[in-house]
């Protein structure tokens, strides 16, 4: 295999890496860059645990080659809190106990943020369909949906 050299921005920082052409962006983030917040739950795009944004667009990093990231802005869970300041979604997930084991939480937070960035006033149905690509096996989704709705309401007030 001929390795590929890739230049990207990750969470706002310029990051260069070299990877094999068949490595996914998820492999690169986790195994080469030490960003293990994105999780591999299925590697087929069915669970959403590896959710990241590319140029602001939500995607599964297991369905993107590392090489494809050339010249793009990647957003991961590690970039969600700004310094000491948690994103309102992160706060609400804690307040609402919207996580049990926590393995799906980074993916849900990235997906929920992508939703609220595009739609600050989602209905419960819109939230449920927007998050349908993120599997959670612990919570039955109830507290996750409440946390996202509550965050949206609070961000509108602010």
């Amino acid at each position: 295999m001929t390795a590929v050299k890739v230049s990207t921005k990750i969470n706002g920082d310029a990051v260069d890496f070299v990877c094999e052409p068949d490595e996914t962006l998820l492999d690169v983030l986790r195994n080469r860059l030490g960003l293990t917040g994105a999780k591999e739950g299925c590697s087929t795009g069915d669970c959403g645990a590896c959710s990241v944004t590319i140029d602001g667009r939500l995607t599964c990093s297991c369905l993107v080659l590392g090489a494809e990231a050339e010249g793009h802005d990647i957003g991961t869970i590690e970039g969600m809190a700004k310094g000491e300041k948690l994103h309102p979604l992160q706060k609400k997930f804690l307040e609402h106990a919207a996580l049990q084991c926590g393995i799906c939480t980074p993916g849900f937070l990235v997906a929920a943020k992508a939703l609220l960035d595009h739609n600050p006033r989602p209905t419960e149905t819109e939230v449920r369909f927007a998050l349908a690509g993120n599997l959670c096996r612990c919570t039955g989704y109830d507290k996750i949906v409440r946390a996202v709705m509550d965050t949206a309401a609070e961000m509108r007030r602010a």
């Binding site: 369905l63 080659l65 939703l115």
Partner: protein, 286 residues
């Protein structure tokens, strides 16, 4: 394995044509990477076409719309003009996978996988969409229904790439719709899919129609008999029953993990009725 991301169609065709081993085109990658990861394919070359000019754009032309091969489902959904003209095609494309998948998946990729259950294909076939193919011997344009020739097989020759899909201009009082059945509300492959596109006359009589079925045969089916059943009618109960019967009759399904023969045959008719009603509504009928 090599990864290439050429910036012209010619360069892309050359790469694919010259490759001695197995070569694959990468657009959204939402199917290709799954097959790669599960060891189902072991490519020697992957050609990423997203850096080729035009593959990421939706152009409104004199004859309709030209949709670049790498335009994602999410981008289709954000194009107001396209959504207004071809709501059924856009809703079909937007049914593919999750929001995450929508950010990557393309209709052209969906078409080239040649899966009988591909959601966007019945809608495209019903819409009379065409595929613009570019290859070492130049360009050619063929109807979308001619692209898949069997499960996983297409009519594309070595070195050929679909650069864009074109949708015709809409006559007045036209509408289309796509409905599929899945056991959940999201994240599933269609057990049955039905695309209906129709045009009404001033009196609300169906004057032109195309009906296509997915997941009921080795390839997506265009069903002229189903169109015939509703042309000249106001989609009254009798016409809808005839439509359902024609669709069920056209099915050549199999029993598999996603559904039974009998189930697919029956539900194809059920969905055809529902899709036809929605299409008619969108065309301004009652």
């Amino acid at each position: 394995m090599r990864y290439e991301s050429p910036t012209t169609l010619q360069a892309a065709s050359q790469l694919l044509a010259k490759e001695k081993g197995s070569a694959y085109v990468l657009a959204g990658g939402t199917d290709l990477l799954v097959r790669l990861r599960t060891g189902f394919i072991e490519p020697d070359l992957i050609v990423d076409i997203k850096r080729i000019a035009g593959t990421r754009t939706i152009a409104k032309t004199a004859t309709g719309f030209k949709i670049g091969a790498a335009v994602t489902g999410a981008e289709l959904g954000e194009n107001a003009a396209l959504k207004k003209a071809w709501p059924g095609v856009v809703e079909a494309a937007n049914l593919i996978g999750s929001k995450q998948v929508q950010g990557r998946a393309t209709m052209t990729g969906n078409l080239c996988n040649a899966s009988p259950a591909a959601d966007s294909v019945p809608a495209l076939v019903a819409a009379g969409a065409k595929a613009v193919i570019s290859g070492p011997k130049g360009k050619r344009t063929i109807p979308v229904e001619a692209v898949p020739v069997g499960p996983g097989k297409t009519a594309l020759k070595k070195g050929e790439i679909i650069e864009a899909l074109v949708l015709p201009k809409r006559p007045p009082r036209s509408g289309d719709a796509y409905l599929r059945f899945i056991p959940r509300t999201e994240m599933d492959i269609a057990v049955v899919g039905v695309g209906v596109s129709l045009t009404l006359d001033a009196k609300g009589v169906v004057k032109d129609a195309r009906v296509a079925l997915g997941a009921v045969a080795p390839t997506v089916l265009l069903v002229p008999a189903a169109a015939k059943a509703i042309i000249g009618t106001k989609l009254d109960a009798k016409a809808l029953d005839a439509l359902a019967a024609a669709c069920s009759a056209a099915c050549k399904p199999i029993d598999d993990k996603r559904g039974t023969k009998d189930y697919r045959i029956k539900v194809a008719g059920v969905l055809a009725k529902r899709a036809a009603k929605i299409a008619a509504q969108r065309a301004g009928g009652k």
